[in-house]
């Protein structure tokens, strides 16, 4: 079973010290947990005024490690020149996905600028990942005023851009959302990273597996912001056929990267 981490990061985080946040550090952490490859984006891009400066750093960081670290672009749709920046990320630096931060970059997923950048990424066959959060609401730093991205907003974006492969990172509450409850949304091209879900007790991972099928869940850790062990353990504990677990472990992310 090949583990591909759909939710990894490089760089500094402004609100607490983070270890293993360099390419070498992250690779050592991945080795400890048996993770073969990771989709990484730059934390700097979330906080720089020009997110693209972080993409440039990221391209340099991962260049010697492209066999294991898969770079993912970050862009702010409200900042000038996203078309040229997206082109550079994709064509020059080989970035296969795009991460969006509507709360940090203060835009609505329903805004024309956002839909435009999502459609531009889709034309390039890049998936679009949206983390529901970076920080737990209960412990937010006094300079962090972001709210969690709501699944209703992501569902609306999916309806507006039905050809886009969306990936929800740090997903939670999916079982109560339109993605499960609305029959019209059940086949949406939206996948969910499961590091905040549970295999035992609340059993959200087996429930979603049952309701959405095995193609819609993706392994991810949140490392190095979060410890990778819990997500690995949840997958190990999952009572499912080996081929289904392989899809969750890396097959689904592999498919998103190839499309």
């Amino acid at each position: 079973m090949t583990l591909i981490d759909s939710n990894a990061w490089l760089g500094h985080y402004p609100f607490r010290a983070v270890r293993h946040n360099t390419p070498d550090g992250l690779l050592r952490l991945m080795d400890r947990h048996g993770i073969a490859r990771a989709v990484v984006s730059s934390l700097h891009s979330v906080f720089y005024a020009d997110a693209h400066s972080g993409n440039e750093e990221l391209a340099q960081w991962v260049r010697p490690h492209r066999d294991r670290l898969i770079p993912c672009a970050t862009l702010n749709p409200t900042f000038p020149g996203f078309e040229r920046d997206l082109q550079q990320c994709h064509e020059e630096w080989g970035m296969l996905g795009l991460r969006l931060f509507p709360a940090h970059h203060r835009f609505s997923l329903a805004s024309p600028q956002c839909v435009e950048v999502v459609q531009a990424a889709t034309l390039r066959k890049m998936h679009v990942a949206i983390p529901m959060r970076l920080e737990d609401r209960r412990q937010q730093h006094w300079m962090d005023a972001t709210a969690e991205v709501r699944l209703t907003e992501i569902a609306a974006l999916s309806r507006a851009c039905p050809e886009t492969n969306l990936l929800v990172l740090e997903a939670i509450g999916v079982e109560d959302s339109a993605f499960v409850q609305d029959p019209a949304m059940r086949d949406a091209r939206v996948s969910f990273e499961f590091s905040r879900m549970a295999t035992v007790l609340q059993r959200t991972i087996p429930t979603l597996l049952d309701r959405l099928g095995p193609r819609r869940l993706a392994f991810g850790t949140g490392a190095p912001l979060k410890i990778p062990g819990p997500a690995v353990l949840k997958l190990q504990l999952l009572d499912a056929p080996a081929e289904v677990k392989a899809q969750l472990a890396g097959g689904n992310m592999e498919r998103l990267l190839q499309t």
């Binding site: 035992v200 007790l201 949140g222 819990p230 690995v232």
Partner: protein, 260 residues
Amino acid sequence: MKKIDAHMHVSGGSQRFVGCDADSVIDAADRLEVDQLVCSIPITGGRWATPAEVRDCNDGLLQAMRRYPKRILGYCFLNPGYGREAVEELERCVVREGMTGVKLYNQYKINDPVVFPLIERTIELGVPILVHAARLVSAADIASQPLTSHAADFVDVGRHYPEAIIIHGHIAGGGDWQWTLKVLRDAPSSIYLDTSGSVMDAGLLERCVRDFGADRLLFATDMTMEGNVARVRDADITDAQRERIFHRNFEAILARRRAG
């Protein structure tokens, strides 16, 4: 390695925690190789708890303990505001029914004098008090749960009662853990800390060991079972520290119990 979960819940009485009926809890514990779970059934969310509701919670817990007598231990939930009735419920549950300790939520802060008779009785019995705790940061949370104890309240009451056993709940689910650990560096030896909560920040457990020490740190899940097993299992600490956290520290607490 043996594991005792020092902060867990089980459904019972009128209280339901998602997926936490006794059978499911034990099934999860088996899969994660957790030997014993010290459970409680509190009334949460800043809500008042009447004596009848408190008894209903504790009766539900006693049922779970009887179903799994070697696996599920109990903290008796109390509302200190009902002075005599709270002490009577403590006597019923801890002395006569064999519960392991007391659970307090946020009906009162832990350093409120109304709690002191209960603390003094737990000192006589040599049993722990597990307290819901948080350094809340949002105005909405502070307004809705103003009597939630934070680390400075524990330092305060710990100095007043150095012979008590008071557990600060869920460092990883109690708001600003960086602030909490700074304050708990000054905590007296009567204050313990549990590792539970749903926040999986990297480095949290290592910081607990560095700043608070491994000798009064207790493995716990608070219903986030996979995450908290992995948190302690994978931490960059010594195996001796891991063993203390997973079970030896709580075993030392159990050994302090005296006859009622």
